[in-house]
């Protein structure tokens, strides 16, 4: 039997009574599934998990995404199994990335509010992030509840956004920070995809606003008008009352539902090692009608 302690008035639960390094029972999986449908973000403390165990835990919740083909790392440069997103500041040899390293500059885009894999035609359900080496100062991960954000919108805003479709691409989020150092081949893998701006969660039935810094356009809108509007919505959706800040302790395992949350990394000293490893559970279907 798992136990969940709320960490925030709106969402986020700390889970105890489960060891994620071991095989989960069917009952454990069902309880975690029900908890994440309610809390959207779950924190498991002191989980000394290895890569194999993290893969096994993650697969309990669905098929995994393979990160290859969406980022900018080439096969030989990858430090981890291809089902991992390497959210560290380390190279393949375990050395700190230089300040001007291309992968590092690219990864600064994680400091913008986003939802993982919203730039994929079928976006992710869950992300599972394990803090193997965490930093003492900064480097927090902030989460924002997009259900509560949606609920807070005025009726006319809800009506306005109900059927909007946005175009998401990694190119847009990187452009926002002035990172345009992408090859034609990379850009070809980052072609914009369509996503509904309002989603309904299949388990909780709650509506949420599906925002991300990957959004660059709203279908049928002039680009500047779309960008200004998305900025306004994002500002409302990421107000302090909708945000939980996770201060990492070593071996925290945090699992979140990308369908109804956004998250971002906070700044930290690039001269200290931060080794975080993410697995991602794939989604089921496109969000926008053809």
């Amino acid at each position: 039997m798992i136990h969940v302690r709320p960490l925030h008035p709106l969402f986020v639960g700390e889970v105890s009574g489960v060891d994620t390094t071991r095989d989960l029972s069917v009952a454990d999986i069902a309880e975690i599934g029900a908890a994440i449908a309610q809390y959207a973000v779950l924190v498991f403390r002191d989980q000394r998990i290895d890569d194999e165990q993290q893969l096994a835990f993650s697969r309990c919740f669905g098929e995994l995404e393979y990160t290859g083909g969406t980022g900018i790392s080439k096969p030989g440069e990858q430090r981890l199994h291809p089902a991992f997103a390497d959210v560290s500041n380390l190279d393949v040899g375990g050395n700190l990335l230089a300040r001007d390293n291309r992968r590092r500059l690219y990864s600064l885009g994680n400091m913008l509010w986003h939802s993982d894999s919203s730039f994929k035609a079928v976006p992710a359900n869950y992300s599972i992030l394990s803090g193997r080496v965490v930093v003492d100062k900064g480097g927090e991960t902030e989460f924002a509840d997009m259900r509560a954000a949606y609920d807070s919108f005025e009726a006319d805003t809800k009506a306005e956004i109900e059927n909007l479709v946005c175009e998401h691409s990694l190119i847009y989020s990187r452009e926002t920070l002035g990172f345009g150092d992408l090859t034609e081949a990379e850009k070809a893998t980052m072609r914009p995809v369509r996503q509904a701006l309002v989603r309904t969660h299949p388990v909780s039935g709650r509506k949420s606003v599906y925002l991300a810094s990957h959004i660059g356009r709203i279908e049928g809108w002039p680009v500047p008008e779309a960008r200004a509007f998305v900025r306004d919505l994002t500002e409302i959706a990421t107000q302090p009352e909708f945000v939980y800040r996770h201060v990492w302790q070593p071996f925290d395992l945090v699992m979140w539902d990308n369908r109804c949350t956004m998250h971002r990394a906070r700044r930290y000293d690039s001269g200290t090692i931060r080794d975080m490893r993410r697995t991602t559970v794939a989604g089921d279907a496109p969000t926008a009608m053809a």
Binding site: R99, L112, L177, P222, V223, P224, E225, R227
Partner: protein, 301 residues
């Protein structure tokens, strides 16, 4: 003349004065004093004409010509008086017609919804800006102001040390880029070239430090661009928290005046394809800004 706080230490309400009439030296000094202690002053019920707005503004310094007016073809301009900024959604002189959804003047103006300081993309940015309201939409179209002195004061000492000597590059291109609008300019590349300013400026009268932030900033000297942009976003987020912000809901004939050296502002959304909004802007060249304000020690390097 009476100046009462609307938001203590930041926004003052000025009554018992008629700014349609020429001011006495004492009144000018009183308003300047109010600007120094508050940074934003609101004058309700002032039915000034364009000429009266220009005359009132000229009490406080040298008027500047807005870049938008300067870059616009004369036949596209609503006002021939270049000092008068057209902050409306009208199709130029045809005030019965609203700008089309994809009108390039509309696209350019949408960036006013980003926090900025007027003319910070110029070697000498604006000092005071004065905005006079003629027509307002039924909903939205507020102007929000953020106090950059309070925002600076609230930084932790480590961040203060980091930003105190920082030099940043401002350009109109950067703010428009952020909403995906490419500024073509008028063929004069000087208008678009980034200019350098200190990120922390000291007010020439009050001596208070403030963050000279603006969405026109796109680079920090000595920093890699993505790092600079991420940092500037964080700093802007800090500086525009609700406790530093005042939102002005316009009434017809409000005149609001603010100091761009210590205040950022932005417009909020309204239904500009269906509703009319008309404000007239004048602004003054800023004293104590620009590369002149870089201490000699740094300018010599």
């Amino acid at each position: 003349m009476l100046i009462q706080p609307i938001q203590p230490g930041f926004v003052g309400l000025v009554t018992d004065v008629d700014i349609c009439q020429p001011l006495t030296a004492r009144q000018v000094a009183q308003i300047e004093g109010g600007m120094d202690s508050f940074a934003v002053l609101a004058f309700p019920n002032q039915p000034v004409t364009d000429e009266q707005q220009v005359a009132f503004s000229a009490n406080f310094g040298e008027l500047e010509i807005p870049l938008a007016a300067q870059m616009m073809a004369p036949e596209k301009r609503r006002f021939q008086k270049l000092e008068l900024g057209d902050i409306s959604n009208f199709d130029g002189k045809n005030t019965d017609k609203l700008r089309d959804r994809d009108d390039s003047r509309r696209m350019y103006a949408l960036a006013n919804r980003l926090w900025h300081s007027d003319a910070s993309f110029r070697a000498v940015g604006a000092g005071y800006t004065l905005l006079h309201s003629r027509v307002n939409p039924t909903k939205g179209g507020n102007t929000e102001f953020a106090d950059m002195r309070a925002a600076y004061d609230a930084l932790d000492s480590k961040t203060k040390a980091l930003v105190d000597d920082m030099i940043v590059g401002h350009s109109i291109v950067y703010s428009r880029e952020q909403i995906g609008f490419e500024v073509k300019g008028d063929g004069n590349p000087d208008n678009l070239k980034p200019v350098k300013h200190r990120l922390v400026v000291t007010h020439p009268v009050t001596g208070r430090k403030s963050l000279y932030l603006s969405s026109h900033i796109g680079e920090i000297e000595g920093w890699l661009i993505p790092e600079a942009r991420a940092f500037l976003r964080d700093l802007t987020e800090h500086a525009t928290q609700p406790q530093f912000v005042y939102s002005h809901k316009w009434e017809v004939n409000d005149m609001v005046m603010w100091d761009n050296r210590t205040v950022m502002h932005r417009a909020t959304r309204f239904d500009d394809l269906n509703e009319r909004r008309d404000l007239r802007r004048t602004s003054l060249k800023g004293v104590g800004l620009g590369i002149d304000s870089v201490p000699v020690r740094q300018a010599a390097e």
